[in-house]
Amino acid sequence: MSKAEKAQEARTLAPEHALAVLRGMILIRRFEERAEEQYTRARIGGYCHLAIGEEASNVGAIDPLTDDDYVFTSYRDHGTALAVGSPPAAVMAELFGRATGVAGGYGGSMHMLDVERHFLGGWGIVGGHLPIAVGAALALDYRDESAAVLCQLGDGATNTGAFHEALNLAEIWNLPIVFQVINNQYGMGTNVEQASAEPEIYKRAAAYRIHGERVDGNDVEEVWFATDRLMRRARDERKPALIETMTYRWRGHSVADAGKVYRSPDEVEAWKERDPIVRYAAILMDRGVLDEEALAAMRKDVAQEISEAISEAASAPVPDPDGLYTHVYAPGWEEQFVHMDQAGPFGEREGTKHWRK
């Protein structure tokens, strides 16, 4: 029996591994808290959707992936980026709109990615990335690769037409994909019960004969073992699945939303009682893997890492504004546009230099 198989049987992670998973969650929490603060200091613009409270759903689902698997997610993507292992400094630099950011400052908060680590994006149109993730699974199957796609989405996204088309395609084509519905109870200010005819979202998979299951999204090991099992099944048997991880967004929909009008303080507090980090730390202490001192040291170490990431990002250069048109098309095909230059609208034909101050 391999190590991974043994772990599956025992349903607990080995001590070293468990500590790394705990640290991964603390890293996201700390990163997001600091991002929120940097946003209020106007170092970050646009929308900024935080994953505070959802750390176990992110780390638990992404940690068991192999290097060959692929990940897609929505605009609530900082946690996903950190969980796949993107350097915090590069993620923070993207938030700051710097050239050293994961997308060179072109994408910002909603459009993180890490091609090397097979993370193909943070996407901003709700539901839009689902068929795209199906396409990635199609490519893996097409090339007979033993890998699968993890596609994260929100509860709200399951009400888009794209969700239903994506699931149907995944099943009729037997594609290696696991849809992870991160059910944080709300899509903006709309509760799941209000928006979904079947609020137990995992059951929707049955309509497409896809296996669906619901797990405690604040229990990192539960998420870990369930995702690991479903991803293996996707890789080995080419069977899609849907896993619904039940969690909660502690903050508002984005930093601009106080998150108060549509939910009660009691509800928020009740979920904070189930803090995925505190819970896992307590479990590891019970197992004798962790003590208060080690936890404090871990938190301190993470805080230091994020502080350094912020300093690094803040001192990085902004993108070259003459690069405005650089990435519109692939390099090498400029020739095609040569005959479009004449008498075009003002500015497009000369670049931006002559009106920028």
Binding site: M110, I125, T160, G187, L324, Y325, V328
Partner: protein, 330 residues
């Protein structure tokens, strides 16, 4: 009153006036609208008249079409114009076609309200101005008011119109303040009439929505050079009032069309073509067009500023046009 409040008042009055009018959209009830346009209306009229929807744009825009076909007057809010794209099929292949395809026997008196615009670092998928797409389609009407008065008066006109109307708002305009008609007057603003918001003699700048504000600022700045700029607020894109543009350009002999969206195949392209034909003899220079940089909107602030059709970009285009005609130094 702000542009936002003017819209809210028009919605409130129309809801009160006609029981067939109802609102539908994401987050427009309890959450009071992503941009707070519908604040208070759900509490006042309840969930039947102010219907909250899931994130199902294709579904609820289509439902609006069906409800309109049998006599209701849905006012559908699309949170921002970017999210209408998944519902494009319902708008273009369905709403726009019904009246003609069914031989005039049934129509779609529906309004889709949605803000476009950019400038808050919302990046490529959330910074578009797509109104030109809709103005291209026969069967649709497209309006884009630039001030509270027109926002109020044109929204009322849109709701009372018998055909599908895309009502384009703008994220940056919501806080703009200005006059609105007095309560109880029931004043509306008709479609198909542009508005000369500033008279001038040397150059006509033609714009719609937020770009009108930019054009007015540019007109102010040119006063220092002794240049008199006329500014036309199109207000309505389809029906388009080209007559007002032609009359102005026959007088000024120079024209520039500015828009927030991409100029290529855009609104300026349409207007320039019509002006060149109608004012060929009078024009002192070819009609100039200015739009947003033809790139998906980047995130970084400096890149975004370079991409927007800002005052400096439109102003530079105007200056060069005037310099070509010998009116100012380059």
């Amino acid at each position: 009153m702000t542009y936002r409040e003017a819209l809210r008042r028009a919605l409130d009055e129309e809801l009160a006036r006609d029981p067939n009018v109802f609102l539908m959209g994401e987050e427009i009830g309890r959450f009071e609208g992503s941009y707070k346009v519908t604040a208070g209306l759900w509490a006042k009229y309840g969930g039947k008249r102010v219907r909250e929807t899931p994130i199902s744009e294709e579904g609820f825009v289509g439902a609006g079409v069906g409800a309109a076909m049998i006599g209701l007057r849905p006012v559908v809010e699309i949170m921002t114009i970017n999210f209408i794209v998944p519902a494009m099929d319902m708008v273009v292949n369905h709403a726009a076609k019904v009246r003609s395809m069914f031989g005039g026997k049934v129509g779609v008196p529906m309004v889709i309200r949605t803000p476009g615009g950019a400038g808050a670092q919302l990046t490529a998928q959330h910074s578009q101005s797509l109104e030109a797409w809709f103005a291209h389609v026969p069967g649709l009407k497209v309006v884009a008011p630039s001030n509270p008065w027109d926002a109020y008066g044109m929204l009322k006109t849109a709701i009372r119109d018998d055909d599908p109307v895309l009502f384009v708002e703008n994220l940056v305009l919501y806080n703009l303040t200005g006059e609105v008609p007095e309560e109880g007057t029931d004043i509306t603003v008709p479609f198909g009439l542009a508005n000369v918001v500033r008279e001038g003699t040397d150059l006509t700048i033609i714009a719609h929505s937020y770009t009108v504000r930019r054009a007015l600022n540019i007109a102010d700045r040119f006063l220092q050079d002794g240049i008199s700029v006329e500014v036309i607020d199109l207000r309505s894109l389809r029906p388009l009032d080209i007559d007002t543009c032609i009359a102005s350009v026959k007088k000024t002999t120079r024209a520039l069309v500015a828009e927030e969206g991409w100029a290529t195949f855009g609104i300026g392209a349409e207007i320039a073509a019509r002006l060149h034909r109608a004012c060929f003899d009078e024009l002192d220079a070819p009609v100039e067009r200015v739009g947003g940089a033809e790139a998906p909107m980047p995130y970084a602030k400096n890149l975004e500023l370079a991409a927007l059709a800002q005052e400096d970009k439109i102003g530079a285009a105007a200056r060069r046009l005037l310099a070509d005609c010998g009116l100012v130094d380059a």
